[in-house]
């Protein structure tokens, strides 16, 4: 069993810096997602861990071993590619056998491992087909099978579910979680789908432009985002972010923006008066009563709830969630209230750090 550690890892492509200085410590047996927008360096990070790219600087460890100079085949890892990368000229059986063959296992052992993995993934019927004779979901399972056969220390996944339809994706999410529980191996999972990251991970590493923004369990990332980027990135519909000012008066802090004035509790020592950003989750805006007013601009009914967009003064828009039974009329002006115990305050800037203590 082995964890994974990146220390001060830097990666440049020519003159372009893809990863600035990554520090990340993944514990033994942990399921960690690397989450971030397209081009932020998730794949690059994973490929460095696999040994397919070499870091420009810094150190990567798997277990106790520094692996910077260890070729991919000797790192005791398995990787599932977004494209599946099944060998087209080999049958499913040969595909799954390949890593064992390369390790010089005798034929009988190879057969046993392949059969076991095939059974686990319901591939037994398909063993003698070529990859092109399989559906996307079946190909995905073969790719998974090829990783499973040899019980590596660390599993790497690069968006393995992104080519599947929504239903199959949900099913495979559950399968992977179960697999992780059963094998107890360290798994590093790259995705740009926050739902996948939230539902599967022990911890999520959120990356923006090659820099780690937050590394924490899903609940914490949601409840106490470390900065403005994380706040806006996690959650569907996303958090309302309102630019305004912080003011200090008579021992308490106030946030002010056009049409909004709100006391904010528990600010950190570092907070200063001036520009700031208020973050409010849609579920913490309550329509019905309160001292604030807004005009109903849009109502989306999803079935189990409604998403309502309110236009407040100064061009500010707030998204809120209401129960399914409560359907405001478009164009009406309604009273609403913001749950000031649950708001987030950030310093100005795209990645302005969090200023208040988590509720």
């Amino acid at each position: 069993m082995a964890g994974v550690e990146f220390s001060r890892v830097r990666k440049e492509f020519g003159g372009f810096t893809a990863i600035e200085a990554l520090d990340l410590r993944i514990e033994e047996g942990e399921f960690v997602s690397l989450l971030g927008p397209s081009g932020c360096g998730k794949t690059t990070t994973l490929r460095m861990l696999a040994g397919l790219e070499f870091p420009t600087a810094g150190e990567i460890r798997i277990g106790e071993r520094v692996v910077n100079d260890v070729p991919p085949g000797q790192r005791d890892i398995a990787m599932v590619f977004q494209s599946y990368a099944l060998y087209p000229h080999m049958t499913v059986r040969r595909n799954m056998e390949y890593p064992l063959r390369k390790r010089g296992l005798p034929a009988a052992e190879r057969q046993a491992s392949v059969l076991m993995a095939a059974e686990m993934l319901q591939l037994t019927e398909l063993l003698d087909r070529k990859p092109r004779q399989l559906s996307g979901g079946q190909q995905q399972r073969v790719a998974l099978g090829r990783a499973l056969v040899r019980d590596p220390q660390v599993f790497l996944f690069d968006e393995p579910l992104s080519n599947l339809d929504a239903k199959l994706r949900g099913h495979m999410r559950a399968e992977l979680v179960e697999l992780h529980a059963r094998l107890g191996r360290t798994m590093v999972y790259v995705t740009h789908d926050q739902l996948e990251a939230m539902t599967m991970s022990d911890r999520i590493a959120i990356i923006l432009a090659g820099e780690l923004q937050q590394f924490a369990p899903p609940q914490e990332v949601y409840r106490a985002p470390a900065n403005r980027f994380v706040a806006g990135f996690i959650g569907m519909p996303s958090m309302n972010l309102v630019d305004g000012r912080l003011a200090h008066g008579s021992g308490s802090w106030q946030f002010m923006a056009p049409g909004i004035a709100l006391p904010v509790p528990a600010l950190a020592e570092t907070a200063v008066a001036g520009e700031a950003c208020l973050g409010v989750r849609p579920e913490h805006v309550h329509i019905g009563a309160g001292e604030l007013q807004g005009r109903v601009q849009l109502v989306e009914q999803t079935g189990h709830e409604n998403i309502v967009v309110l236009a407040v003064a100064g061009g500010i828009r707030l998204t809120c969630r209401t129960p399914a039974s409560m359907i405001p009329r478009m164009g009406d002006t309604v009273d609403f209230r913001i749950d000031s115990e649950r708001v987030h305050v950030f310093a100005p800037g795209d990645t302005g750090p969090r200023l208040n203590l988590p509720a």
Binding site: G73, I77, Q82, P88, H89
Partner: protein, 273 residues
């Protein structure tokens, strides 16, 4: 219906036009000497004979030339494919300064007419002590087949997803092993068509062979047959045709064996998305 008939007619006439010289070559090679100049010419020989073939095989150096051509073309093809496959791999997989310009530069050789290259090449071969050997021809043919082969294989190689190789590396293969187990099988159709192209080019080459070798022991078929059957005074038509038939046979056989590779699609469905 009408259109189909018209289409078939035009296709068949095209086939006939192309095939007729071949047919005439075979027919002429089977005619006894007396029938050659008969007027009007007979479509089929009245008394078909194999005497020309027998004479060629028994009384001339035809078989030596044939052996030379086979050796020469096979060696050239192997050398060109070996170098071009590795070169194409490097041009596609590794990133280094001047990679694109290098690929362009390679094609530049085709801008020079080969007549200009022949003399320096000949002098070089003399200096290397290779004058008048098959090796000198192999090297010369390689110089003009390699650039094209490199580009052909490069485009085939570029169509092979890099993930396949990455997967093989993670699965425990060395770079060479990944190349052999995963890249090469994917590249096979490309290699076969490139090999065929190179083989035909070497098999039919005339100019370099004329200049670089001039002894009967080292002449390939093209210059050998020319030398033997065509003189300023006379052309041995029926022998020439018999020689031509035997020269075409290897190519025809190779084509019919490899046809399915030439037309087969490449690793479809290997990679999703």
């Amino acid at each position: 219906m009408m259109r189909r008939i018209l289409f078939n007619l035009s296709v068949w006439s095209a086939v006939l036009i192309v095939a007729f010289p071949l047919f005439w070559m075979v027919v002429t090679s089977l005619k006894p000497q007396v029938e050659l100049w008969a007027r009007p010419p007979a479509l089929l020989p009245l008394e078909p004979t194999l005497e020309h073939y027998l004479t060629l095989l028994r009384d001339t150096s035809f078989l030596v030339y044939f052996r030379n051509s086979v050796l020469l073309s096979t060696a050239t093809t192997l050398l060109v494919i070996g170098v071009a496959a590795l070169g194409a791999y490097s041009l596609v997989r590794f990133r280094y300064r001047g990679r694109e310009s290098l690929a362009m530069l390679v094609l530049f050789t085709y801008l020079l007419p080969s007549v200009i290259l022949i003399l320096p090449l000949y002098l070089m071969m003399v200096k290397l002590g290779l004058a008048n050997t098959l090796v000198s021809l192999v090297l010369a043919y390689t110089t003009f087949a390699l650039p094209y082969a490199l580009w052909l294989l490069r485009s085939f190689m570029a169509g092979i997803p890099e993930d396949l190789e990455s997967a093989a590396l993670v699965d425990g293969a060395t770079r060479l092993g990944a190349f052999r187990d995963v890249i090469l099988p994917q590249l096979l159709p490309g290699i076969i068509s490139t090999a065929l192209f190179t083989f035909i080019l070497s098999w039919n080459e005339y100019l370099f062979a004329l200049v670089l070798v001039n002894s009967d022991a080292t002449r390939p078929l093209t210059t050998g047959v020319m030398n033997m059957l065509i003189s300023s005074f006379n052309i041995e038509w029926s022998m020439l045709m018999a020689a031509s038939v035997m020269m075409s046979l290897p190519l025809i056989i190779a084509f019919s064996l490899l046809q399915k590779y030439l037309t087969r699609g490449f690793g479809a469905g290997a990679v999703k998305g």
